[in-house]
Amino acid sequence: MTNQLNAIERLAEVKQERMQKNLKARYAKEKRFQVYGIMSICLGMAFLAMLLGTIFYGGASSFMTSEIKLTINYDPDVIGVTDLTDEDELKWADWRGLLSTSLAERFPEVSGRSAVRQRNALVSSIAEYSLRDRLLANPEKLGTSEEIWIVADDEIDAVMKGQVDRTVPESERRITDLQLSLIDSLEAEGEIRQKFNTTFFTAGDSREPEQAGIRGAMIGSFYTLLVTLLLSFPIGVAAAIYLEEFAPQNRLTEVIEVNINNLAAVPSIVFGLLGLAVFINVFHLPRSAPVVGGLVLTLMTLPTIIISSRSAIKAVPPSIREAALGLGASKMQMVMHHVLPLAMPGMLTGTIIGMAQALGETAPLLMIGMVAFIADIPGGPLDPATVLPVQVYLWSDLPERAFVAKTSGAIMVLLGFLAIMNLLAVYLRKKFEKTW
C-alpha cells in the first residue's frame, strides 16, 4: 500500500517537475514573442522617424526666403512707358530696367560688364514681373519711387541660409567673391532679410526656385479629389446597397463580386491607360485636366469604397432590418431610414481612406498628361493642372540645388493633408460609431 502510494507520489513529482519545466518554456516563449513584437514596432517607428527626420531636415529651409530692400523709382524713361493703358507700349516695356537701375544706385562702385551682371543676379531673375503687376495695379505710382523688398535669387538665399562654403576657391562656387561682398554690405545695412516664404503657398510652379510655389498643385489636387468624391461616393454607396440589400444571390452577382475584389488589386497605371484610351481619345476631354484625373481616380477608388461600404452594411444587425419590416416599412424605407444611417460612419471612413490613396497617386496621372510643368493656377476642373505628389516628383528631377529643399517642403505639405484626412476618418468613426 505504502509502496503503491510512494510510486504514485513519485510519479506526481516527476510530472510536476516536467510541468514546471514546460510552463517555464511556455512563459519564455511568450516573453520572446512579445520581445519580437516590440522589436518590430521599434524598427517600424525607427524607419518612420528616419523618413520624417530627413524630410524635415531637408525641407525646413524651403519655408524661409531672402529679400533685398531696394528703392525702386518707377521712372517712365527707364520703363519706356508713358501710358500704362497702351497695350502696344507695354509690349516693349523694360521692366528689368527698374531693378538694374535701382541696383546701380545702391552699388554705384560696381562697373564693368561681368561685374554688373553679377550685381544684377542678386535679385530673382523674374522679379521684374511682380513689379510690373504692382505698377499696373497702382498706376498712380508711375513717376514716383518707393522702398520695397524684392525676392533674392536662390543662390543668394543659399548664402543667407549658410549653405555656401566661403572658404573654397571662387571657381568652385556658384556665387562669386563680388556677390559675397555685396551681400555682406547689404547685411551690414540691414537691407537683406530672411522671412517666412509666403510665395511657397501662394504661387504656382516656376523654374526659379525662389518663385516656385505649390498653390497650383494644391488647387489641382483639390479639383481632382472633388471630381473623384462627387462621382465615386454616390456610385460606390449605391452599388454597395444594391449588391447587399436588393440583388438576388446568383451566378451573375457572384461574378460581379469577384470582379470588384479583383479591381481593387489592379495596378493604378492600368487605370491611367484606360483613362487615356476612353476619356481622352474617345470622349475628347482635355489633356492634363483635373476632370480626367478625377475620372481615372474614381475608377481606382470605387472598389475600395464599394468593399468598405458593403462591410459597413453587413455590420448592421439583421434585427434592425426585421424590426423595421415588421413595423410595416417598405424595403426602401428600411434601407434609407435605418440601414444607411447606421452604416454611414463605416462608409465615410472607407471613402476618406480611398480619397487619401487617390491624393497620393501619380502613376495613372502620367498617362493623361497631368505630370507636366503647369505654371498658371487652375481656375476650374477643365484647366490644365497638376497634383501634389506629381509636383514632388517634378521638383526632385530639376538641376537647381534649391529644388531639393522645395521637394521636401512639398512632401511635408502632402503628408500634412494625408494626416488630416486620416484623422478625420478616425474622428468620424469614433463620433458616429454605434455598438449593439
Binding site: 551682371r117 531673375s125 523674374i126 514681373y129 562654403d165 573654397v168 571657381s171 568652385e172 562656387r173 556658384r174 516656376s206 523654374r207 526659379e208 481622352i280 481619345n281 470622349f283 475628347h284 476631354l285 482635355p286 489633356r287 492634363s288 498628361g369 505630370v371 507636366a372 510643368f373 503647369i374 505654371a375 498658371d376 477643365l382 490644365p384 517634378l394 526632385s396 528631377d397 530639376l398 538641376p399 537647381e400 540645388r401 531639393v404
Partner: protein
C-alpha cells in the same frame, strides 16, 4: 425591373455621350526630359511677358513625345515636341502619314559629362578608352571578341588611375543614353575594324556600368557618396553642382561652357523642338513661343538659357533658325 435597368443604362450612355469638346487656349508641349529644364524656363517667361497662357510641358522622353505628336492634327494632340536627338526617318514617316507638316527648330547644344566627386581622381579619357571600359564585349589581342575583362581604368589604359570601373548612367529609354552611345561608344568602336553595330552599342551588364534611372539628381547624390564612381548626365547638372563634382576631359579637352560652344569638347549634341505647322494660327501663340525661344534675351551668351546650362546657338545658326520660324519652313526628309 427590366425597364428600370434599361432606363438606367440609357441614362448613363446619354450623359457620357453629351460631353462636349473643349477649345484649348494654351500651347501643349511634350517630349525630351533633357530639353524640359530649358523649355520650362522659356514657357514661364512666355506666360509672364505676353498675354498668352503659360504653355503646359510634359516630360515624356524624346521618343514618347514624337509618338504623341504624330498621332494627328487637332486640339487633343500636342503642338510642339521637344527632342534631344534628331527625328528618325520612321518617326518622320509616321508623322507624314497623318498629314502633319513639321517645322524643325534647333535651340542649342548640351554637353554630356562623365563626372565624379571632387574627392576622387579626375579622368582624361578618349572615346576608345570608354568603349574598352564599358562595352559588353571587346576584342582581345588577337582581335577575337571576348566578354569585357577590364576591371580597373588602368586595365583600359595604363595612363589612367588604378580605380575599379563603376559608371552610373541613364537607361536605354533616355535620349542622353542614345547620344552617349552614338558619340562615345560608336566613335570608340571605330578604332577597331569590322565590329558590328551590336558590339559597338551594347553596354556591360556585370556591374561596371549601372543603369541608375532617369533622375540625374539621384546620380549626383550617389557620386557624392561614392567617390570611386563616375556618372553620365547632362552638362547643366554638372554646372549646378560644380562645388561637388568634376567632369572628365575628353582627349585633353575639359567640359566647360566655352569648349562645348566652340565644338572642341566632342561629346555634345544639338537639342531641338518640332512645331506642328497645322496648329499655327489655330492654337494661339505657337509661333510667338518659338520666337521667344530664339530671342536675344534667351539666346545671348549671358541670356537666361545659358544661365540654366544650355549652350546657345552661334550667330549664323541662330539667324537660320529665326528665318525658318518666320517663313514656317517645313522639314523635308528624302
Amino acid at each position: 425591373m427590366k425597364k428600370t435597368i434599361f432606363a438606367a443604362i440609357l441614362a448613363t450612355t446619354a450623359t457620357m455621350a453629351a460631353v462636349p469638346s473643349f477649345a484649348r487656349d494654351q500651347i501643349s508641349i511634350v517630349g525630351s526630359s533633357t530639353v524640359y529644364p530649358f523649355a520650362t524656363v522659356v514657357a514661364e517667361r512666355f506666360g509672364k511677358a505676353t498675354s498668352y497662357a503659360t504653355p503646359t510641358i510634359e516630360s515624356t522622353g524624346s521618343g514618347g513625345g514624337l509618338k504623341l505628336f504624330c498621332e494627328g492634327v487637332g486640339e487633343n494632340t500636342p503642338d510642339i515636341t521637344n527632342s534631344s536627338s534628331y527625328i528618325k526617318q520612321s518617326q518622320f514617316d509616321a508623322c507624314a502619314e497623318k498629314g502633319i507638316d513639321i517645322i524643325e527648330v534647333k535651340i542649342g547644344y548640351d554637353g554630356i559629362a562623365l563626372a565624379n566627386s571632387k574627392k576622387g581622381v579626375k579622368l582624361d579619357v578618349t572615346q576608345k578608352d570608354l568603349f574598352l571600359a564599358l562595352a559588353a564585349e571587346v576584342p582581345d589581342a588577337s582581335g577575337k571578341l571576348i566578354a569585357n575583362p577590364n576591371k580597373t581604368w588602368k586595365d583600359v589604359n595604363p595612363s589612367l588611375p588604378n580605380v575599379a570601373i563603376r559608371v552610373l548612367g541613364p537607361p536605354p529609354t533616355s535620349g542622353t543614353r542614345a547620344a552617349f552611345v552614338e558619340l562615345v561608344m560608336e566613335e570608340g568602336c571605330e578604332a577597331y575594324e569590322g565590329l558590328s553595330d551590336e558590339v559597338c552599342t551594347s553596354m556591360r551588364e556585370d556591374g561596371a556600368f549601372v543603369e541608375a534611372g532617369e533622375n540625374d539628381n539621384l546620380i549626383v547624390q550617389k557620386l557624392d557618396a561614392d567617390t570611386t564612381a563616375y556618372g553620365i548626365f547632362g552638362y547643366s547638372f554638372l554646372d549646378q553642382n560644380s562645388d561637388k563634382l568634376q567632369g572628365a576631359s575628353f582627349n585633353g579637352v575639359d567640359i566647360t561652357f566655352d569648349n562645348i560652344a566652340d565644338g572642341s569638347y566632342p561629346v555634345s549634341r544639338p537639342l531641338h523642338f518640332f512645331i506642328k505647322k497645322q496648329h499655327i494660327g489655330v492654337i494661339p501663340g505657337v509661333l510667338e513661343y518659338a520666337e521667344l525661344f530664339l530671342s536675344p534675351a534667351a539666346q545671348a551668351e549671358d541670356g537666361y538659357l545659358a544661365e540654366k546650362g544650355l549652350i546657345p546657338l552661334g550667330g549664323a545658326e541662330l539667324k537660320e533658325m529665326r528665318k525658318a520660324v518666320q517663313t514656317q519652313k517645313v522639314l523635308v526628309m528624302n
